[in-house]
């Protein structure tokens, strides 16, 4: 097991180098020159040259990349062209918001996705199955930004039940310890802040999780149908077990193996920043930050975010594989010989 983990961690290195090369070159090929954006339209040629030299943009791209890589290896991702603050700090300030949203969305998606999938499979060809399939179909096809706007219109504009955007009422913001409002509010013992933060989380996580929920529903349904047709399910019934145990224990545990991968990949995607959702709900996370930075050609920030997202994907995949081994004892990652 340990060997497997070490192997997987070592595999991160080539992945990260590849990703950094791609994003580095793409930014330089397709993004407009950042200098006029930073200095303003009326900046002199001299000022622009000076700025480019100061930021190392006058050197050959290969040299620029190697300098960046050397810095990145030492944990220095550079500074933002605009805020002049270090990229790590800028990302660190926004990442908790994204994580909070992603966790809420994946929890929503997993619970309802698995539930709907199981019900649809157990009651195959019934009205429940049809409803589940319909929800899943709508979930994958509905554009997030449109769903977000609808949710805001209905729950915020019409019912006045939930806030339309932001993470929290500014007046209630708890003292920053971790950056996660839920955690910070609990640490501060500020229940009003916790409640407010939770209420702010409902609509965006619903909008963001809808797609993942649809995918998880479909996966669970098909995987569950397969398990239910297996002979060990019949064995479980022949033992006289209650149907809920037959389905909930014997069939579900087997069905969850492929579902776990899907949940892992979806969570990775959600962490990578929900560009549209964060924009619609003015959620101050890295998704919104990415969009802003790309538009401003803020190279170091975009590079930093992409590297982080790549790292998250690799990690999430690793975790999904480890959960696999827990769910399915037949998978042994270590080279231990089994009889």
């Amino acid at each position: 097991m340990l060997k497997f983990i070490i192997k997987r961690v070592l595999m991160v290195i080539p992945v990260m180098i590849g990703v950094s090369i791609i994003v580095f070159s793409l930014m330089r090929v397709f993004s407009p020159d950042p200098a006029p954006i930073v200095l303003g339209q009326h900046a002199t040629q001299e000022a622009i040259t000076t700025w480019r030299m100061a930021n190392g943009l006058d050197k050959p791209v290969v040299v620029q990349y190697l300098t960046y890589l050397w810095g990145a290896l030492q944990g220095d991702l550079g500074v933002s062209y605009f805020s002049k603050a270090s990229v790590a700090k800028e990302i660190g300030a926004r990442f908790p918001a994204t994580i909070e949203l992603a966790i809420a969305a994946i929890i929503f998606a997993s619970i309802f996705g698995i539930l709907l999938g199981v019900v649809a499979a157990v009651k195959k060809n019934s009205i429940f199955d049809a409803a589940g399939s319909l929800i899943a179909l709508v979930g994958v096809s509905i554009p997030i930004f449109w769903l977000g706007i609808l949710l805001i219109m209905f729950f915020s504009g019409f019912l006045h039940l939930l806030p339309s955007g932001g993470r929290i009422n500014v007046l209630l913001e708890p003292a920053r310890v971790t950056g996660f409002y839920m955690v910070d509010a609990v640490i501060a013992g500020d229940w009003a802040a916790l409640k407010d933060a939770l209420l702010h989380l409902v609509l965006p996580s619903l909008a963001l999780g809808m797609y993942s929920m649809a995918i998880i529903t479909r996966m669970t349904r098909s995987s569950m149908l397969e398990s239910l047709g297996q002979e060990y399910v019949r064995t479980a019934r022949a033992k006289g077990l209650r149907e809920i145990k037959v389905v909930g224990k014997h069939a579900l545990r087997n069905s969850l193996i492929p579902v776990t991968t899907v949940i892992g990949l979806q969570f990775g995607a959600l962490l990578g920043g929900a560009l549209l959702t964060e924009s619609v709900f003015s959620w101050p996370g890295i998704g919104k930050f990415t969009v802003d930075s790309i538009l401003k050609s803020d190279f170091p920030v975009v590079q930093g975010i992409v590297l982080l997202v790549a790292l998250i994907f690799v990690t999430v995949n690793l975790v999904a594989d480890l959960v696999y081994a827990y769910l399915d004892p037949r998978i042994k990652y270590a080279s231990k010989k089994e009889g």
Partner: protein
Amino acid sequence: MTGVPPGEPMTVTAGPAGTAAACAAEARGVAEPPPKGGHGEAGLLLQVRGLSTDFAMKKGTVHAVIDVSFSVREGEVLAIVGESGSGKSVAALSVLGLLQPPGRCVAGEVLYKGRDLLKLPKGEMRDIRGNHISMIFQEPMTSLNPVFTIEDQLTESIRLHLKLDRRAAVKRAVEMLRLVGIPSPEKRIKDYPHQMSGGMRQRVMTAMALSCDPDLLIADEPTTALDVTIQAQILALISDLRDKIGMAVILITHDLGVVAETADRVIVMYCGQVVEEATTEQLFERPLHPYTLGLLRSIPTMEDTEATEPLYMIRGMVPNPLHLPRGCAFAPRCDRRRARCAAEQPALIEVEGRKLRCFLFEPGCNQAATALSPESAQAGGAVRRADSEVAP
């Protein structure tokens, strides 16, 4: 409850007195259901009457089991024999109520100690399953859940039915594993199914099925997926345990060798119907139904190695279950069919204490009373008349 229910085979009173007595006993068992909780006078444990099971498919309805009746006495081994698709497994699953849609029991009753299992509420049926009647399936590789340990799967039914706590259940599970001959059961109980061989897994399945001391074990082709030496071990194990625990066994198989070695009585099924029922001795000594005869003749014997003639084969194929022949289902493949066979369904009649579904043995049939022995048949199909053997 009086008279003969519609599912009961038509009984023709046969000549010999012994048969008549057996019939009378049978009829008595039918008319008076045994007292609840106890056993019938004749020691009848399970009585299946007129069981019919359908599968409603898109292309039409498949009648997988048609008007099947049989009974199992305490401690008896009843074999159900037939080709793949003859309905033997479906009949067994119907008994335990384990059919999944689109399969459905459409008629008949399954009386277990006098209670009709088909009409039992779900909760009571669960108490029967695994506790009173348990089942071993054909595929040991897939019948165990791959993601739980043997301990987990084995103690499940013990804790459920015997109401033991975890420790006592584990102790009982280890005992059961020892009983079925798994070496160092204390260690192996922690294993996952994939860590065991096919034979070991089938032993585990057997241990699981026997863990609550069932009155009846249904073994659905328990040895088909195993190699020959393991087959013999598992069969010996089941026979051995039957003697120790005193349970009855329904052994479903297509292997007549297995039947000869283990069964007391045999039912031969073809296309969902019982075509012949006899004691094992009767069946092997003198098969009556042309299908049974064909089955026996297609077993290679030691003498065959010298023979120049190819091994006998029942000609043709099992008919498509969606389009069964109008008359006798076996007629298109039968060497002795007559015009009537293709037009009418023969009824199950009683002949010399055995049951048969063939016009050849109906009373008054002038061609009847022609019983073939495997030897004479193999010798070239010479038909030996045996008038004395059949009721006029």
